[in-house]
């Protein structure tokens, strides 16, 4: 049995688009312990504590990771925490600015006072290492060129020890460097937000306690949106993802039926 691949493409397009067109939603279910761990950690931080979110992704992984960044920032602003955004990849600069400003708008958080976007700095591992001893030395200004000393959001922030949490949002193995250099060497309180394909790589770190928690793909983002009671893009996308998974499995079953039928006929 051979199905024209164009029919397969059409079927996938239809099942992904249908929930958006007809406004179908499925109940999300309970959040995983890994997502709850990050939520509880942020809930326990006192007001004016600072969390750092590293937006190391670009447009390709935006559907999964951008909602995580917005949800985390929203949660932080709702708890009156400071948010320090930065990126170690050039595409993340505008991602960080868009996510932080979108979340800040809902809570009246002001740039410079309640949140800051430190911008992009090349050097990856050397930046992570440098922040372990002196963050203002690595990032002397924010992305607008305002000196760090003039930003109230950066008051008292010198090293990872002054941060309540560091969250790395990435679709690459970059989070390994954060575990090796920031967590292992400088004992940063580290959490991760990764695409679903990357999640299994993070489980050893979770089980070793090197990661406090993990947001796993679009579902992780949707779970976090549900925890903060602010459904967004991720919640909207989960129904499409459900239908797409079922469609792919249906094609796999069809393919196997055809395979066994052909094998039997040959015998």
């Amino acid at each position: 049995m051979r199905i024209d691949r164009r029919l397969i493409y059409l079927a996938i397009a239809a099942v992904v688009a249908a929930p958006f067109v007809f406004n179908w939603t499925l109940p999300l279910g309970s959040a995983s312990p890994r997502t709850r761990a990050i939520y509880r950690h942020i809930e326990a931080l006192p007001p004016r504590s600072a969390i750092m979110i590293c937006f190391d992704y670009g447009p390709a992984s935006m559907p999964e990771l951008h909602p995580m960044g917005i949800a985390l920032a929203r949660h932080a602003f709702s708890r009156k925490l400071r948010v320090i955004g930065l990126t170690l990849g050039p595409e993340g600069l505008i991602m960080a600015q868009n996510a932080l400003s979108a979340a800040a708008k809902d809570y009246g958080a002001r740039e410079g006072e309640d949140w800051v976007n430190l911008g992009y700095k090349p050097g990856f591992i050397s930046v992570i290492l440098g922040m372990g001893t002196d963050i203002p030395k690595v990032f002397r200004t924010d992305h607008r060129g305002v000196p760090i000393a003039e930003l109230r959001a950066m008051e008292g922030i010198r090293t990872y020890a002054d941060l309540g949490l560091v969250v790395e949002l990435t679709a690459s193995p970059a989070i390994n460097d954060w575990v090796v250099f920031a967590q292992s060497r400088f004992h940063a309180k580290l959490a991760g937000g990764v695409t679903a394909v990357m999640a299994t790589d993070m489980y050893p770190y979770l089980q070793a306690g090197q990661l406090i928690g993990l947001l796993n793909g679009l579902k992780g983002a949707a779970e976090y949106e549900a925890l903060i009671r602010h459904p967004g893009l991720a919640s909207l996308g989960m129904t499409s993802q459900s239908f797409a998974h079922v469609a792919i499995l249906a094609f796999v079953v069809l393919g196997n039926i055809g395979y066994f039928a052909t094998r039997r006929r040959r015998r």
């Binding site: 109940p27 447009p59 935006m62 990856f124 050397s126 489980y203 196997n256």
Partner: protein
């Protein structure tokens, strides 16, 4: 000298950073701060080198009219326009740079990645066959995980997410941990080879075996 000087620098700096990690003295931390600052500066220069290499490669392709040389014009033109626009009007929301990034690059990049969904579906249909006991096991695990990771799975059965969690946390982590150990040991071995000068591929010469 062209080989000996880089090898000597690699050896000395590698040894210093290795020793510094285990010696919690202020002098060591200052040395690390200085070296990581130099690394960031070199990283910035590497960007410049990368841009130069990009231009060189695409100009060569245009000059020799190699296949796809028209796309090289698009590449260099897009790059130049974004640089000029970004420097002239900044990158804040509402600026031309931000508009071009949000309305051109983001949709293009996202569309390219979205094609994967269609290819995965087609590839799964064509090649995901229960040909052997191992492939059957893989197929069953894939079915459980794909259903368990989406809300519809929990609707079908609350056992599916539990089974998914077990597959992700036990056999998968066991395999991943083994791979991580292997990678870490390999990285240690390669690093030591580079520090002592056995591995020289980064200098453009053959390694000593």
């Amino acid at each position: 000298m062209r080989l000996q000087v880089p090898l000597a620098i690699t050896f000395i700096v590698g040894l210093v950073m290795l020793v510094q990690f285990f010696v919690p003295h202020k002098v060591g931390e200052d040395v690390m701060d200085a070296l990581t600052a130099w690394a960031r500066i070199i990283g910035a220069f590497a960007l410049v080198l990368g841009i130069g290499s990009l231009f060189q490669r695409h100009l060569e392709r245009m000059r020799r009219r190699r296949e796809g040389w028209q796309y090289s014009i698009v590449t260099l033109l897009s790059f130049t326009v974004m640089v000029i626009v970004g420097l002239a009007w900044g990158k804040e929301k509402g600026s031309p740079f931000n508009w071009a990034f949000t309305n051109i690059q983001v949709p293009l990049d996202a569309s390219m990645f979205s094609l994967l969904a269609f290819f995965v579906a087609s590839a799964a249909y064509r090649s995901f066959r229960a040909r052997s006991p191992e492939s059957t096991l893989l197929l069953l695990a894939a079915v459980v995980v794909m259903l368990g990771r989406v809300p519809i799975g929990e609707q079908l059965s609350p056992r599916l997410p539990e089974a998914t969690e077990w597959i992700m946390s036990v056999p998968t982590v066991a395999a991943k941990r083994g791979i991580l150990f292997g990678v870490a040991l390999g990285a240690i071995a390669t690093s030591l080879r580079i520090i002592v000068g056995i591995e020289r591929s980064h200098l453009g010469v053959e390694s000593r075996t």
